[in-house]
């Protein structure tokens, strides 16, 4: 019987100054940010495999965190690469044998820095990927306007723009094939969907994202995230 796999990316391809810690290991409401992200996948029926992609230098810390905050749930810890794309590829290579044996149906890829994603979003992304092959959550972008060459506001309709969130979900065999083809080509996509679209021709469907699915990027985001967690009684 096949299961779905959730990959949480915590290797941190973004800027990291000096020897500072990755922000996903910051405490938030009594648990680390990364633990909340793993917990999200644990709560979705059908996700039976968890992969956490980390930097090699964070492995010891991660083992300690998982032991303390996420006991009894098996998590495969994989060392990531220098880019998001490379980290995704390494996680897929880790799952490759199981994917080829047909033991993994859908793979969901999630940013560890999005600890508050509502379970509803994951369930909808997963259900849509099962039905269509690929799905991502997105929010309409309402505060943008087009500008023409003369610097005037353009009349063009901007309703086609969305702000892409994670998790992004795809059929595992197609996802693996896409990343293998990309590796052969030397292509590095900006997100999971761009690679699958390019190499497998999968039409990626957009499901409704959620404003609470914030990505901790700025210092202010930490306060907002804590406030939202407190409002939910520190429960997902």
């Amino acid at each position: 019987m096949s299961v779905h796999a959730g990959i949480v990316l915590a290797a941190g391809a973004g800027t990291r100054v000096g020897n500072s810690r990755n922000k996903v290991y910051l405490p938030l409401g009594g648990r680390r940010i990364v633990t909340w992200s793993l917990e999200l996948f644990r709560q979705v029926a059908g996700i039976g495999r968890l992969v956490l992609v980390v930097r090699d230098s964070d492995r010891e810390l991660v083992a300690e965190i998982l032991d303390r905050e996420f006991p009894d749930v098996p998590v495969d810890v994989v060392t990531g690469g220098d880019t998001r794309h490379e980290s995704e590829h390494r996680a897929l290579l880790h799952l490759a044998d199981d994917i080829r044996r047909g033991e993994i149906d859908i793979v969901l890829v999630h940013d560890a820095a999005r600890p508050l994603t509502p379970v509803r979003v994951v369930e909808e992304v997963l259900a849509t990927a099962i039905r269509t092959g690929g799905a991502i959550p997105g929010l309409p972008v309402e505060d943008v306007a087009g500008v023409d060459e003369a610097g005037r506001i353009s009349e063009s309709d901007r309703t086609d723009l969305i702000r892409v969130q994670t998790p992004q979900a795809f059929r595992s065999a197609q996802l693996l094939a896409a990343y293998e083809a990309a590796a052969a080509d030397g292509f590095a996509g900006t997100d999971t969907a761009s690679c699958v679209e390019r190499y497998q021709g999968v039409t990626v469907h957009v499901v409704a994202g959620d404003p609470r699915n914030l990505k901790v990027t700025y210092a202010d985001d930490l306060f907002m995230a804590e406030l939202m967690l407190a409002a939910s009684g520190y429960k997902r």
Partner: protein, 104 residues
């Protein structure tokens, strides 16, 4: 968990990503400080103190359960770590109270 963490975060004040000092009072976020421009975001102290007291009550109530879980799952590491944890507790509490008094 330590009560001060150094991480790279974006700063809305000076823009760009810079080292930030993130300070906690127990499990609660207390403040962030941008190392580049000195921009500080902090909870107001009376509100933080109220939230801290409620959180400490919750920590005390849930402590036996959390300790029991660790005893069951990792009896050896629990036994090994207990003396050190007890010795460090006063220093941890003192650091938390320093944050609550606004001295950190």
């Amino acid at each position: 968990m330590d009560n001060v963490h150094i991480v790279t975060l974006g700063c809305h004040h000076c823009h760009g990503e810079h080292l930030h000092e993130v300070t906690y009072a127990g499990r609660l976020l207390a403040s962030t400080l941008c190392s580049n421009c000195g921009h500080r975001i902090a909870k107001d102290l009376p509100g933080l103190r109220r939230a801290y007291i409620a959180d400490v009550e919750h920590r005390i109530l849930t402590k036996p359960g959390r300790m029991l879980r660790r005893v069951i799952h990792h009896p050896v590491s629990f036994a090994r770590g207990l003396p050190g944890a007890l010795l460090l507790k006063p220093a941890k509490m003192e650091a938390e109270l320093r944050v609550l008094s606004g001295r950190r």
